[in-house]
């Protein structure tokens, strides 16, 4: 049973690594520039010897855009999840360890944000502060940090009631030391799974924003934007939209399979 499960996780890891390797190697791969327009391929955008996966509606190499787009996703998704974790863990630890008013304040504020339907929150945020890599990070932090905070708060509360925390207090450790050294390392297990799920979800979200026209400004290769731009060509050149869609699916699948494997592992 475990072999089967970890096999699934392995597939997930392999999918992620595939994209990571491609993204890292992008500058050295024998690919055209992701923004270069091939006017010759324009009329026949399907896969060809020059363009293995064809070109996009503006005649740009799909493979190159996928690979360079992977750099964007694989930078933005982990960065924003990391930032969300930094904020979420801080809030969660404060609320969970200190309790009382600190907890009430943080928890109520989180409740307000968590009550928003997530996509609505992202749309309102990005539509108002404008689409850019930095703002996407801001949006993910605002939308995801309360969720992380809630998990960490629960863990911290449970851990704070344990005897080793009382023991630490008895040796006059500061609150900061207890939160960071005593509590935080023990949140690792449950959070690791959550990180993977959130990475997958953030990838979807970045794609969705791109699809809604709220993604990175052109001509940056943006997977969601690629699907959206190729959407009108679907009936004529289905591959143009389905390939970037497949790229997003494979990466999200990778994160989700890994999360599944991690959560099932002992």
């Amino acid at each position: 049973m475990r072999v089967g499960r970890s096999g699934v996780a392995f597939v997930g890891l392999a999918l992620i690594l595939l994209w990571v390797v491609l993204a890292l190697a992008a500058p050295w791969l024998p690919l055209p520039s992701p923004t270069a327009q091939d006017y010759a391929a324009f009329a026949h955008p399907g896969p060809s010897a020059q363009h293995w996966l064809g070109v996009d509606p503006l005649g740009r190499d799909t493979l190159a855009r996928l690979v360079w787009g992977a750099r964007v996703v694989l930078l933005l998704a982990p960065l924003s999840v990391l930032a969300a974790y930094a904020v979420g863990c801080t809030l969660g630890l404060l609320a969970g360890y200190y309790g009382g008013w600190t907890d009430a304040l943080i928890s109520r504020a989180s409740d307000v944000i968590l009550s928003f339907p997530v996509v609505v929150l992202y749309v309102i945020l990005i539509a108002n502060i404008g689409p850019s890599a930095f703002n996407i990070v801001i949006a993910v932090v605002l939308a995801a940090a309360p969720g992380v905070g809630r998990i960490v708060r629960g863990l911290a509360r449970r851990l704070a009631a344990q005897d080793f925390i009382a023991a630490a207090r008895l040796r006059r450790e500061s609150g900061l030391y207890i939160m960071v050294v005593e509590i935080l390392p023990n949140c690792r297990g449950p959070l690791l799974t959550d990180v993977c799920i959130r990475l997958g979800y953030t990838t979807i979200m970045i794609g969705t924003l791109g699809f809604l026209g709220l993604g990175l400004p052109p001509p940056s290769p943006d997977w969601g934007g690629m699907v959206q731009q190729a959407g009108p060509m679907l009936t004529v050149y289905p591959a143009m939209a389905l390939i970037p869609a497949g790229a997003i699916i494979s990466l999200v699948l990778g994160f989700n399979l890994l999360a599944d494997g991690l959560s099932e592992a002992p």
Binding site: F164, A166, A167, L170, R172, R188
Partner: protein, 593 residues
């Protein structure tokens, strides 16, 4: 008479990551109809596996790889599913450990009970209802009809255990399997459950296999006892024989570790020092679920330097609350707590001086949560040395090694992670950690109650060693009166947040005693053949949010006087030998027992 149950060379394995673990290498047992057999052994020795193997229901990964289990002439190992279902619950019934989780939380008690006769005796609903209600009455559950409509969580632990017993007995099985029937219950409640089981087995003549880590419990229930170690029965004998003349060295160790009333160890020889801790009128309350719980009320205690003072009482009596207030984890509401001349009552750790913090340290109850699973076990000791201990010329590593040596652990263990340690080892680490700052007072809050008997004994020994060798005052908190009476110099008996009785340990055994003290003593299972104490308490501790106006113990007191006890807090009476008893019954009358 043929055997009801014959187990031959039973071999059980559990799948594991590397290779299968042999839980039972070849177990054999014969049981006659109506016979009761007790199996004792420490956790992980395979005794629960045996019970589940008999019912052929080993959890995931468990596999019976050899042997035979013949029950009423049928080999259960080859029985088909239908036959197995007839046996389970019908002919062999299990009283599970921890009834709280063994009862379905979303199904009424009544429906869970009715399932048994409906399944095994093919009776209708009405008939099943009647039988279920009768069964609840048989296990002496108050208000059986009302209980039918309730859910498990609405019952207390003792009541849940009675329900589980009723469920097991409903189909009139030929064999009853008892899995740790009293673990998790308070001593007075456990005593009542044991009484009930004894009575029932006499009434129904049901054969019984009872397993426990507590030799006293199986001895109380069963005529024949097996001692199990690592999957093998190392000794088997009649109860009286086993106690009188244990043959196997393991059995001897078990017996030696078993605390016995009156079997007092040598007391502190050191002359009583000056008063280190003087607590008076201490109160502490919490808000829980919309109500106020008075965890401590007018609490008083006095400890001399170098003495071992014990606080004893059942769960929720307030003993741990006191420990936390004393340690400074929480502040008291009112009262005085003078420690080495300074009042600490209203001051938590943040308000105490470094020296005051270092002076009072604590060893916690649960070995599983006392160490941070993310750090090596040496880390908290090192931190304590750095934060609490006075500067010393020796390097930290050497001081760590010395502390580990003091708790009789090898120095190398400091680099291990908690999960690589046994429960006893963890508690030793906890003691070393607490001693790093050379405290004047060490609080041991139920520090040994989660440990197996033999381990418990060695940890207690260690504490007494520290007490003697370092002159450390020890506040020993426990629910086990027998243990406490054996090791402590002074004992405080608590109930419902109040002190019922206090005084020198030795004088607890003889009247005049508080009725609660007497009940606690009576609840300690006596060795086979010894006379049984008759005092049993009614019901269970009342809701701490709504305590009685008078004596806290009044609702359960066997010597309840009436309105006076209910409405008026009892006076504290001082006995001739320095004991203090809070009771309305005059001392001479109390002395009559």
């Amino acid at each position: 008479m043929t055997a009801l149950l014959a187990i031959r060379d039973l071999r059980v394995e559990y799948a594991s990551a590397r290779r299968p673990v042999l839980a039972l290498p070849g177990f054999s047992l014969d049981l006659a109809p109506g016979e009761s057999f007790g199996l004792v052994g420490e956790s992980g020795c395979g005794k629960s596996t045996l019970l589940l193997a008999i019912l052929r229901h080993l959890g995931p990964g468990g596999r019976i790889t050899g042997g035979a289990i013949v029950f009423e002439g049928q080999d259960l190992l080859t029985a088909d599913a239908a036959a197995l279902r007839r046996v389970r619950g019908g002919r062999i019934a299990l009283v599970p450990q921890e009834p709280a989780s063994a009862l379905n939380p979303s199904m009424t008690i009544g429906r869970q009970l009715m399932e048994v006769p409906m399944q095994h005796q093919r009776v209708g609903r009405a008939e099943a209802r009647e039988r279920a209600e009768q069964a609840l009455a048989d296990v002496r559950l108050p208000d059986p009809r009302g209980a039918m409509a309730r859910f498990a969580h609405q019952l207390s632990g003792g009541q849940q255990q009675r329900v589980a017993i009723a469920m097991a007995l409903l189909a009139r099985p030929a064999l009853l399997l008892l899995d740790e029937p009293t673990s998790g219950l308070d001593v007075t409640v456990a005593a009542a459950v044991l009484d009930l089981l004894t009575a029932l087995s006499e009434t129904y003549r049901t054969a019984m296999i009872a397993i426990s880590h507590d030799l006293a419990v199986v001895a109380r229930l069963c005529a024949r006892i097996g001692v199990m170690q690592a999957g093998e029965m190392v000794e088997e004998a009649l109860a009286a024989t086993l106690f009188a003349a244990p043959r196997h060295v393991y059995t001897q160790a078990l017996l030696a570790a078993m605390p016995r009333l009156g079997g007092a160890a040598p007391r502190t020889e050191a002359p009583p020092g000056e008063t280190l801790l003087d607590v008076a009128g201490l109160s502490k309350s919490y808000t829980v679920g919309g109500g106020r719980v008075r965890a401590l009320e007018d609490f008083a205690l006095r400890a001399r330097r170098g003495a071992m003072v014990a606080i004893v009482g059942e769960s929720g009596c307030g003993k741990s609350s006191f420990a936390r207030v004393l340690a400074g984890l929480q502040a008291a509401d009112t009262g005085a707590m003078r420690f080495a001349g300074r009042d600490l009552a209203g001051r938590t750790l943040a308000a105490r001086s470094p020296r005051e913090v270092a002076a009072i340290q604590m060893v916690f109850q649960n070995p599983e949560t006392t160490l941070n699973p993310a750090h090596t076990v040496g880390q908290p000791i090192l931190r304590a040395l750095r934060k609490l201990a006075a500067p010393a010329p020796l390097p930290l590593a050497a001081r760590l090694a010395a502390l580990l040596e003091m708790v009789r652990l090898p120095a190398a263990i400091g680099r291990a992670l908690p999960r690589q340690l046994s429960g006893g080892q963890k508690q030793r680490i906890a003691i070393a950690r607490a001693c790093a700052g050379a405290p004047d007072l060490l609080i041991a809050d139920e520090a040994v109650s989660a440990l197996d008997a033999s381990v418990q004994a060695t940890v207690v020994d260690l504490l007494r060693h520290i007490q003697r060798a370092r002159g450390t005052t020890i506040l020993f908190i426990s629910h086990d009166l027998a243990l406490v009476q054996a090791i402590a110099d002074e004992v405080v008996v608590m109930y419902g947040g109040r002190v019922m009785q206090s005084g020198p340990a030795a004088r607890l055994l003889a009247p005049p005693q508080h009725p609660y003290t007497a009940a606690l003593l009576a609840a300690v299972p006596p060795p086979p053949g010894a006379p049984r104490a008759a005092i049993r308490l009614r019901g269970e501790p009342s809701d701490p949010r709504h305590p009685p106006a008078g004596c806290r113990f009044a609702p359960r007191c066997p010597r309840h006087l009436g309105k006076l006890c209910d409405d008026t807090p009892p006076p504290v009476q001082v006995t001739a030998d320095g004991g203090r008893i809070a009771c309305h019954i005059p001392l001479p009358e109390l002395a009559l027992g």
